[in-house]
């Protein structure tokens, strides 16, 4: 398993739990879960680029 696949799986599972537990209606759960997933995955990509540029 690649690091990126692990990040995506981590983001998926955590987002599902956050979405269900932090919001009350199904529609808001889905929206919040998608928002968390985008933040997890997006921040991992941004931080990876930052570390790559620092290490050069």
């Amino acid at each position: 398993m690649t690091h990126f696949a692990a990040v995506l799986l981590f983001a998926l599972f955590a987002s599902v739990v956050f979405g269900i537990t932090q919001r009350e209606t199904p529609q808001r759960m889905v929206r919040y879960g998608a928002y968390c997933f985008a933040l997890f995955a997006g921040s991992a990509v941004v931080l990876s680029w930052v570390m790559f540029l620092i290490a050069r």
Binding site: M1, H3, A6, L9, F10, L12, F13, A14, V16, V17, F18, I20, T21, E24, T25
Partner: protein, 136 residues
Amino acid sequence: MATTPTKLSAARKDTQQGFVYLPLIAGWLIPGAGHFLIRKWGRGALLAASVLGMFTIGIAMQGKLYGGAHDILDMLGLAGDLGNGLLYFGARALGLGADQVMVTTADWGTRFIVVSGLLNVIAAVDAHNIRTGRKA
């Protein structure tokens, strides 16, 4: 349509009957069981799949299960692992996650196991909140 005070008090009384901590304890011991007890089948299935999936992947990545608390970081890791409930005790009984493996994916696996425990605790508390009527 507005809910009448009689209906509200009846619903509140209904949520207070029985042992209110049962979904919390069941949810901690078996992922998703707390939601199943309060008949939230879909939410329970998704939470169970997430926690079980994360724990299984963590073990498959040769992640470490914390067995004792030698320093503060071990203590925090053990607290996270214990959140998995019976999964943790079952895996320990089977001898899984006992070896210290020096590969990068093993480090990821250790984090997956700790986080699955923490997510399971959040899910169990959510089941308790629904049971007490704090959440719909």
